[in-house]
Symmetry: C2
Subunit: 384 residues, 2 copies
Amino acid sequence: MTVTVAKGFVAAGVRAGIKKSGKPDLALVQNLGPLNAAAAVFTSNRCQANPIIWSKQVIVDGQVSAIVLNSGGANCYTGPQGFQTTHKTAEAVADALEISAGDVLVCSTGLIGEQLDVEKLTAGVSIAAAELSEEHGQAAAEAIMTTDSVSKTASFVSEHGWSVGGMAKGAGMLAPGLATMLVVLTTDAVASSQDLDRALRLATRVTFDRLDSDGCMSTNDQVTLMASGASGVEPSFEDLAAAVQAVSQDLAMQLLRDAEGSSHDIAIRVSKAASEDDAVKVGRSVARNNLFKAAIYGNDPNWGRILAAVGVTDAAFDPYDIDVLINGISVSRKGMPDQSRDLVDLKPREVAIDIVLNAGQHEATVYTNDLTHEYVTENSEYSS
Amino acid sequence: MTVTVAKGFVAAGVRAGIKKSGKPDLALVQNLGPLNAAAAVFTSNRCQANPIIWSKQVIVDGQVSAIVLNSGGANCYTGPQGFQTTHKTAEAVADALEISAGDVLVCSTGLIGEQLDVEKLTAGVSIAAAELSEEHGQAAAEAIMTTDSVSKTASFVSEHGWSVGGMAKGAGMLAPGLATMLVVLTTDAVASSQDLDRALRLATRVTFDRLDSDGCMSTNDQVTLMASGASGVEPSFEDLAAAVQAVSQDLAMQLLRDAEGSSHDIAIRVSKAASEDDAVKVGRSVARNNLFKAAIYGNDPNWGRILAAVGVTDAAFDPYDIDVLINGISVSRKGMPDQSRDLVDLKPREVAIDIVLNAGQHEATVYTNDLTHEYVTENSEYSS
């Protein structure tokens, strides 16, 4: 159940020869219409890859006919030559599908600072164009994998005859600096690009944006939503937004579970915050704290590290009126130890951290994972 | 050459029985005068340990007669009972030395959320008071060690008859959430508490504050400077400030070299910045980037990770006009690859990262270390 669950979309995943491993490395998704409405969100990193610079221009008019994605190279910090490579890739797609290059989004993922082989890319596009099919959604999902151990796909099928499908790559945002998060969502609902944009931003804000595996932000992140309208059904905005959010959350949790080298999935729920922003800020600070993350790896309920991470934020709270629970055990209340930390069992993969700020009525959950030997190994050996 | 290099100071380091290992765990430094001027800087973490809360009150009048430091427990998030423990420790020092408890600073380091044994602490103070001597500066430096592999001391001796001494603990700020950085500086120069405060803030801003091993901020950090005036010499403010900075830099580099589990010492020099703040901001962002740090561990000159970390800051720069050098090799210029990354040799322990923002005339250097298997091991096994 992937991008082709939505009617009006065909996909392909092929070997273009960009990855040294010889594995599939180029995916193509085409929107056959009748609509070609689309929206996209991009990394907020100021150092942006060439496909990001290109795609930001393409999305301006809200019209997208196809998206092409390659693994095996980020095409970031590759200068004018790198931008030409992105441009030529889009033109190759346009030529093969008889559409406008200005309606082709491009995504790349891999190592920064290396030129992609444009001949291999454009030849790969030709192969992919010939392979486009409703049956090849899974092949597309596999072609965008980098350090992912499994492909990630999700779908929502409405009883009213429309659906949302999706595929994602990214080893849990653990390494978005190179193993960037790329997501393609499709729907056969009838929707305007404005509504798609609103629905996508609402969804990403509480799903992909709340995954924070190592605090490192990619130069290549892109999440795209395309609508074909092929179902002929126009759901309410609320129904569409809920479906987009459900598929996004499903993919986000798949990214989390496949985080590079992780041994625990950690949900940090911050409640009774003065604002949702405060709750997110506190959750992120804990999610990015290496000491906390290493402790969880060691099955060590070292709650002092949680409070030390909370304390560096400017969120509204009284530092001595915060409650902390780990897997349901209240380990600290009002600036003092509460139940014994020995009662906390951290052997299960799922870890629930509850931080109660006692400063208001808002809440948010940020997802992260532990800092492990395997993370260090994967990220110290990536490019060599 | 430690805190007792300055005339007018005596010190002791003893076993109070707080550490389970039975190693020395309590240090005492007394200022015999004639002056008892002092200044201190504290962690900016809002979740502060009881000794921080106490010491902030003590320093208000700029008068300090003694400082007592324990390892084996942070006395943080231990509630009113924990504050009483700090208070009683200061009173025990006051009784033993016939001074005012209001002139006694207290520092603690170790695990957050555990009560310290006040009987052991006060008994330890009695033993330490009896041991106070100009000969025991080294013993004091050893008694404040936690995960440190070596004790850290430094000194500056002026040809004009005055000196500055110092001791520090902290495994490179790698784990300031528990293995906090505690520093005691002494001088026999004649100086007012106002001048000590100015000199200390000038020094810490460019030394201890630029060590950023893992971005985690302690609840217990404290850097104290005390002046006895025993030399009878009143150096110029500039000379005093330079000496305090030299000793601070020496200790800071010792902390860096002893960082938990590190295999590379990394100096990140950011130049041609629009402001010093911008330079520090960019340096810190790189210093805190786990992907970059893991790459250095793997001897991998993955410069894309440096630019991705630069790109998340709001410093003034054009993302495509930044130059990056690693150990003197220009790996990226103006948003493109320059010399081959294969020319970079990362086998030596010392690593020099140069980031040229081409946005102004300011610069700053931030020091950090790599992210290693040993870091994860040490910090996943600390409290268990």
